[in-house]
Amino acid sequence: MNLVRSELLKIRTTSTWWLLGIGAFLATALAFAINAWLAHQVLSGNAEDFGVSGEQASAAGQAANLYTSGQYLGLLFVMLIGILMVTNEFFHQTATTTFLTTPRRTSVILSKLGAASLLGFGFWLATTVIDLVAGTIFLTVDGHGTQLSEWPVHRALLLNLLAYAIWTILGVGIGTLIPNQLGAVITAAVLYLVGTQVVQLLFFLLSNWLDSQAVVKWQVVWPAVASQVMISGSSTELTPDWWVGALVLVGYALVSGVFGVLITRRRDIS
């Protein structure tokens, strides 16, 4: 517990967290404005113009989207915090002090995972409170009711929380695997942002080539796609069930965490 406290103190005593916090807040505000405009359009009968159909076109579906505004960049920011928690130790050469204070390196990484999860939870809580306050006001004023008793809304909020927790932990894992600050940040950004479109294209080409529609569902092995599948909470003919995405993400977090611990235990700190 002392170690988790120490890790949280490390974050609190530098400017990283509030810079990323401001980033997450701006991203949330911007995303909320766009989502609110979209919800208004969809729910006033223009759903088809925006390619929105099925559950997504319902008031509950739009409410769920609105209440998770800012998620896309928010997840990136919490992953970055997870990465920086580890790579900062090497970038600022504090790893020496950290491992002198606690020679049990597994405990150090586990405490970073613990602190990262708490931080991910904090970011989720803050953005969700903002979204809920602004969202209920907007939906009520726009005449659709708050939708707060609808299951799709609850599901979206909970899956959003799961996503925040997993991506933060994944960030710590990536940091331990790639201690070079710039290298880790670029790798993570590629995995999360650039990857999605490229992967979708690759899997469409692959499915055409194999003449098999089922192959497309396998794009879930890519972390960013897995995340989207999980968050969506429902399956389409192109994507598997949400829990498949969740399993894939948890798998990545576990594997990177375990390998990160093993590598960190053996690493010479000089």
Binding site: N2, S6, L9, Q93, T96, T97
Partner: protein, 312 residues
């Protein structure tokens, strides 16, 4: 380890390095190194650049894994210490704090991880005279302030053993004097100080014992006077004269050994300065210099490590 099987050094701050070896891809940085460091004394750890001093200290502190051998502090490996900061304080490099964090917060982070009260941070800052800069960010610290912060961090747990790697780097003369007094006082309390350095004159003032290594191997270990006294020549007399040949002959007649230093002076051993002067007077030889030279740590060190300091 049960109490019945404890090694003799358990509970004290004795450091025992035994057969320690580190093999990197192409270089054997440390090669079957063994030495002991006793409590109550300041031990200087000396060696040319690249001799393996830092690697040895890092192996002692569980930061680098040895290829072979062991290193223990008070009979236990660093990794096995239950409360490492309360047993051992280490100052390894000056630039080891987050640049955007204040000195006080740097220490508080360590206190939190070690289960020490946060008030220890302020006490340690006061101990090293850094209180006025406590709330300044690390990137604004001078090299000397960084060294002091490193020592403050090492003192947080009020340890039995202090291990320092080149602590005098970046300190001004006043800072070096402060450090000397600090370390001597620490050892006087019966605690252990192991300090690496390449500043030999400083070491001669500071250290009680020395461990000299070169090319990863032990060259000499022992009390400073003993190591200096063990060298082939003892006290020598340096003489300058325009009549070197006459004086050399006169001195050799009196059974003195005479060498040249290669720069026009004679080095006389086996005879003290007054006798050299008297001999010169009797031989009517003019003298321009007559100096007694006592061997110092620097001379001994250079002699012991000669030819072993090449880049490996």
């Amino acid at each position: 380890m049960s109490d019945g099987q404890r090694s003799p050094s358990a509970g004290t701050g004795q450091i025992v390095v035994s057969g320690l070896t580190k093999q990197y891809k192409n270089v054997r940085a440390v090669d079957d190194l063994s030495f002991t460091v006793e409590p109550g004394r300041v031990t200087g750890f000396l060696g040319p650049n690249g001799a393996g001093k830092t690697t040895t200290l890092r192996m002692l502190l569980n930061l680098v894994t040895p290829t072979a051998g062991t290193a223990t502090i008070g009979g236990r490996r660093y990794a096995d210490l239950t409360d490492p900061l309360r047993s051992v304080g280490a100052v390894l490099e000056a630039s080891s704090a987050h640049k955007g964090r204040t000195g006080r917060n740097h220490l508080r982070v360590i206190c939190a991880a070690a289960g020490l009260p946060a008030s220890r941070a302020d006490e340690a800052l006061a101990l090293v005279g850094l209180t006025p800069a406590a709330n300044r960010k690390f990137k604004g610290y001078s090299l000397g302030m960084k060294q002091r912060l490193g020592i403050a961090a090492a003192m947080l747990g009020d340890p039995q053993v202090l291990i320092l790697d080149e602590p005098a780097n970046g300190l001004d003369p006043e800072g070096i004097r402060w450090m000397r007094g600090f370390l001597k006082g620490f050892a006087t309390e019966g605690r252990t100080v192991l300090v690496s350095s390449h500043l030999l004159s400083e070491m001669q003032l500071l250290a009680d014992d020395v461990v000299i290594i070169a090319a990863g191997k032990l060259v000499r270990q022992g009390p400073v006077e003993q190591v200096i006294g063990s060298m082939a020549h003892g006290v020598r007399v340096r003489v300058r004269t325009p009549q070197a040949a006459e004086l050399t002959a006169a001195l050799r007649e009196q059974a003195a050994t005479v060498d040249t230093d290669g720069h026009g002076a004679l080095l006389v051993s086996g005879m003290d300065a007054p006798t050299v002067g008297r001999t010169a007077l009797a031989a009517k030889v003019e003298l321009h210099e007559l100096t007694t030279e006592r061997p110092d740590l620097e001379g001994v060190f250079l002699e012991l490590t000669a030819g072993k300091a090449e880049i490996r």
